[in-house]
Every structure is written in structure tokens, then in C-alpha cells.
């Protein structure tokens, strides 16, 4: 018996005993580590662009209080009779996608306490509101998604009597294709997609989408991690519509994107990050994001390619099941106020659809073709439309592209 403990040869009994004891301790620590790991396995995070490096000039403060009365195109109109909003409001938006004073001025004006939460990726937001009962009242959806959200009863129609500021919208925004009459959404900001490159690293002038397929810049290029945008770029280069549902055309686009993949450094939604850091010299990019890049790296230039680009917009929507609908409608109205809209534009560098706001927008922004392209450039842009069930054709090919070699 005592010999068993002394003999230094791992006999069956001893080894088994050691192993058993080790297993117990190990299992406990292993489980502890697994629980720790489970907690540490924070779910997804994708780097959302929009670092607040924009250089705002003196942003006009939004203290304009319109007089109640006739709702003609005065800079700020009040709904009549004066509404009583609920005490709270929950807003869900992209990070850094609002002016500094928009929320405080709203809180002061109506005495509403606003909880403003940012989401890291658009997918997080759609996943959250898809469950219903997200707890939020207002969110910012890409306009192309608004019909789908309506059909799934995720958003509800607005109370237009509480939104008299809608007269401030430019004529082309009064009746958009995705939401006739703006009954269930109000446009917030619009933007363009093209590409941007560092003129210090790339000495020649680039004007075509073909630049993103040029093997000379291998390993220094990035594309947006967004299947509508990526396929859009390929389809425009091939001369097709970005809303095509033709299998043949989509297969051609897929082949083109597969050709491009080995040349890329990364697919990202953080175009601001990769361009600012210099990791990438040439990137598929959103115009207004480049406005923020230039603040850090002035040599970066944005181009709407000769073949055309993409135009899109974000819209404010009232979520179904919102617990504070009056406050939500008033908030949307507040964002359409000319000075608030201009302050937002001046801070984040995106153009709004607000005609009355133009007189308050920083002239540097109005003159900047990356944020405010002229009519000729806008003509070349295609708008992304809701594709309904045919969206699957894009998604399947995107999975094939990303998962393949």
C-alpha cells in the first residue's frame, strides 16, 4: 500500500488516480475559463466609420422658435394647437450622425428627456427592430428599406399634423419613390458613393471604376462591405442598372468582383478609418465620409466615376409600438427645422434634403463636390431601389464571393 505511493513508475491505479484528480481540477478550471470566455465572446462589432473628425465652423445654434400660426415656409413652424409630448423619447441612430446641438435644443424646447443610443452597424439596428419591442421610438433607416419595413409592420405612419416643417423639404424630396408623400418617413441626409484615393501615393488622376481593378494597387485597395454597393460598382462598370434582377448580368458582376478580390486589402464599412490611417490608398467610399477623412489626411480626393455612381438617403422613421409617438413626431419635425438641419449638416458633413436650410449651411460645404455634387454629377448617379424577393439573388452571390477563394 505504502509502496504504491513511493514507486516512481506510473502504475495503473496511481496513474488513474492522478488522472482522475487532474480531471476534476482541470474540468473546474476549464469550465471557469469557458465561462470567462463566454462572457468575453462579445458578439459582433464591425468598425462603423464616422469618427467625429469633421472640422465644424461656427455652427449656428438652433434657437429659432417659430411663431404658431400659418405654416408657410418659415424657417421653423410650430404645430397648432400646441401638442403635449410624452416626457421621454428613445432615438436609435448611427454613431456621430447628428449635430451637437440637435438633441439639447429639442430637450430644452419641449422638456422631453431624450435617450440617444448609437448602433455600430446597420444590421444591428434592423435585427433589433425586427423583433418588435425594441424600446425605441425613432430610428434612421436607409430609404430603400422603408417599403420593406412598412410591409412588415415595423414602422408606422407619421402624424403629419405634428410635422409642419416638412414644407422646408426641397421639391424633389416631397414625394420620393420609396415613400410617396412622405407618409411614413422623412428624409434626413443624402449621400453619394464613388471612390477616394490618396493623391500623394497615387500620382495619376483616376476617373473610372476600372481603377479599383488595377493590379498596380494590389494590396492597397478596399471595397465597401455592403453587397448592394459592391455589386452596384461592378454593375455600373459593366453598364447595367444597379437594380437589375437579371441572372446573367449578376453573374457577370460576380465574375468581375471575384477577379478583384485578390487585389483587395479588405472589405470594410470603415472607409474613414482605412483611408485616414493610410493602410489603403484607394477605396470604394461614401462621399460624405471622405469629407471627414480629408480633415485628417488632406491629400485624399473623392471621385464620382465617369461611368456613374450611386445615390442614397437615410430617412427618419417612427417605429411600430413606439411608446412616445407624439414626442417622436415632434422630434422628426425638429430635425426638419431649417437651422437644426443646417447645424447637422455643418457638423457631420452630409447634405440634407432641406431647401430652407441652405442659407445656414457653411459655404465650404455647399461648394464641396464630395458632399454637394453639382447637377451634372447627380445626373450620373443611380438610386438603389427595393428589390423585394429578388434581393436574394444578390445575397447568394455575395456569400459566394466572400466565402470563395
Amino acid at each position: 500500500m505504502s509502496d504504491h505511493d513511493r514507486v516512481p513508475v506510473p502504475s495503473g491505479t496511481l496513474a488513474r488516480r492522478l488522472a482522475e484528480e487532474r480531471l476534476t481540477r482541470r474540468r473546474f478550471l476549464g469550465r471557469l475559463a469557458a465561462v470567462g470566455a463566454g462572457g468575453a465572446m462579445v458578439p459582433l462589432l464591425a468598425a462603423c466609420g464616422a469618427g467625429a473628425t469633421a472640422s465644424p465652423t461656427a455652427a449656428p445654434t438652433a434657437t429659432a422658435t417659430g411663431t404658431p400660426g400659418p405654416t408657410t415656409s418659415s424657417p421653423s413652424a410650430e404645430p397648432t394647437p400646441a401638442p403635449t409630448p410624452e416626457g421621454e423619447l428613445y432615438v436609435y441612430n448611427y454613431a456621430d450622425y447628428i449635430g451637437e446641438d440637435a438633441i439639447p435644443s429639442f430637450e430644452k424646447k419641449y422638456g422631453v428627456k431624450v435617450t440617444y443610443d448609437p448602433f455600430d452597424t446597420y444590421e444591428t439596428m434592423t435585427a433589433k427592430i425586427s423583433g418588435g419591442n425594441s424600446g425605441y421610438d425613432v430610428t434612421f433607416a436607409t430609404s430603400v428599406d422603408v417599403p420593406g419595413f412598412l410591409a412588415r409592420n415595423l414602422v408606422q405612419p407619421l402624424d403629419l399634423s405634428l410635422i409642419p416643417n416638412r414644407v422646408n423639404l426641397a421639391p424633389e424630396w416631397q414625394d420620393p419613390g420609396y415613400d410617396p408623400g412622405n407618409k411614413s418617413s422623412m428624409p434626413y441626409m443624402w449621400w453619394t458613393t464613388g471612390f477616394a484615393y490618396d493623391t500623394e501615393k497615387i500620382k495619376e488622376e483616376l476617373t473610372s471604376w476600372a481603377a479599383l481593378w488595377d493590379a498596380r494597387w494590389k494590396g492597397k485597395m478596399a471595397m465597401l462591405d455592403d453587397y448592394r454597393e459592391a455589386f452596384g460598382a461592378a454593375l455600373i462598370r459593366l453598364g447595367y442598372s444597379v437594380n437589375t434582377t437579371s441572372d446573367a448580368e449578376l453573374d457577370e458582376a460576380l465574375a468581375l468582383l471575384q477577379e478583384q478580390k485578390p487585389l483587395l486589402r479588405t472589405y470594410t464599412t470603415d472607409d474613414i478609418g482605412v483611408l485616414s490611417s493610410g493602410d489603403v490608398w484607394l477605396s470604394h467610399a461614401w462621399g460624405s465620409d471622405v469629407y471627414q477623412v480629408v480633415a485628417e489626411r488632406p491629400s485624399v480626393k473623392y471621385v464620382i466615376p465617369a461611368e456613374g455612381g450611386i445615390r442614397g438617403s437615410d430617412a427618419m422613421v417612427l417605429l411600430a409600438g413606439a411608446k412616445h409617438p407624439v414626442a417622436a413626431n415632434l422630434f422628426i419635425n425638429h430635425m426638419l427645422d431649417a437651422q437644426v438641419s443646417a447645424a447637422n449638416t455643418n457638423f457631420i458633413g452630409y447634405m440634407g434634403p432641406n431647401a430652407a436650410a441652405r442659407e445656414f449651411i457653411d459655404p465650404a460645404i455647399l461648394d464641396d463636390p464630395t458632399v454637394n455634387p453639382d447637377k451634372a454629377a447627380i445626373e450620373k448617379l443611380q438610386e438603389l431601389l427595393d428589390l423585394g424577393p429578388d434581393l436574394q439573388k444578390y445575397q447568394e452571390r455575395w456569400t459566394k464571393l466572400r466565402a470563395g477563394a
Binding site: 481540477r25 469557458a34 470566455a37 412588415r152 483587395l264
Partner: protein
Amino acid sequence: MNRDRTRDAVFLLPGLAWLVIFFAVPLAIIFVVSLGSRDQFGGVVLDTLGFQNYLRALEPDFLPTIANSLRYAALTTIFSIAIAYPIAYWISRYGGRRKTLLLILVMLPFWTSWVIRTYAWMTILRDNGVVNGILQGLGITGAPIALLNTDLAVVLGMTYGFLPFAILPLYVSIDRLDPSLVAAARDLYAGGRAAFWHVTLPLTMPGVIAAALLTFIPAIGDFVTPDLLGGAQTITIAKVIQSLFLSSKDWPFGAALGFLLIVTTVVATVGTLRILRREVIG
């Protein structure tokens, strides 16, 4: 006898309930969802159940992705154990009174968010980041080396993240080792290396196996690190599943891939444990 039985059953109940509610039931849900299809808005439709998603998962398009995942997980496991073993050995043999403190220091990074730590690696590995800054500052390189968005960055980030998983089981195993066994080997004219190879390593093999499993299994499911530190070509199956759930909203197909991943991992783990337990412990 019967009272012991019921008492055992009562003690098992919480653990069993946990296993059923949080593992078996979700697994069943995933399986059912994987048999369905998606509607046009990305919801799940369970009208016609079939195995079409599994057939799609086995298409050759996904082989590079699966190969990538296995490669990263394997490399991460190997490097983690290679780095963790000396650390665990040192803490056990030479830690002395500070063993607990050293172990706490090993666990300390876990109290920071995983994602933030991965972001820190981005700052270190970027073209104008810390490493490139030092190399260029010392004149070793002229232009920045692409460290971020490469396989190297992914394996580095994953090894860094999973190192505590490897250190702890190895520490436990090494700590249980009776030093007199090693001393006996030395008495029998074994050199340092021979003593390690013939005595220490075989006896700590259960710890190595545990460390390998605890590293490999989470590594194969990690989508955060390849996403942040990887590039266009470093796609893993975990990232594809995430993308299917969030961007493409094809939950049934994502569920099918996820279910295949879980089943493969469980089968491989159980099989490996069975074989190794038989051969190593005897």
C-alpha cells in the same frame, strides 16, 4: 441505496436542467430553423422543411473558407500551447508564494473587452502603427510592411486572446506533477531534456489535451478577430455564418452551417478524447 439514488438525482438536476435549457433546446431550434427557408424580408419560413440548406453547405464554394477556419484554429492552438507550456511550467515550479498573483495577472486581460483588445492590435499592426513606426524609426525598413489584414495578424490576435485558456489547464496539470518523479528520473541518469520528454510531458499530457481543446474549439468559432484583423482573403466559416445572419438575413442557411460546425466539433472532440484517453492514460 434508494435514498442515495434520489439524492444523486437531485444534485444532478440543476446541471441537467442547465444543459437541456441552454444547450439541447437551442440546438434543436437551430436544427429546425436550418430545415426551413427564408422569406423575402429575411424571416424564417417553416412551411416546407427539407435538407436543401445542407446540400448547399456542402458545395465546393465553401471549401476555402472551411480550410481557412481549420488552419487558423490549428495554428492558434499550436502556438498557444507552445507559448503557454513554458509559462505554466515557470509559474508552477518557480512561482513560489506569488503563484496566485501570477495566475491572476494571466487572467487580468480577460477583464477587458475582447473587442477592445483586438482593436489595440489594429493600432499596433497598422501601416503607421507601433510596429511599423519602430521598424522605420530604427531604419530597419524603408516602407511600412503590411502586417494588418494578413494571416499573420489573425493568428497573432487569436493566439493572444486564447493564451489564458491554454495556460490555466496546463498549469493545473503541471502543478499536480509529483516532483519526486522527475527527481527519480534524474537519479536514473536522465538528462534534463530526457527527463522532460519521458516523465514530465507524458504525465502532463492530459493538461495539454485540455488546453488544445479549450483553444481549438473557440478558435474555430471566432469571427471577431478575423473580421477586425483579417483582410479580404482571410474569411472564416464563422464570419460567413455571421454575415448570413446579419447582412444577408438568410437564417436557415446560417443555421445549417452553424449546426454542421457544432456537430463536427462535438464529434471530433469526443472522438479525440476517447482515442487519447485510451492511449495516454491507459
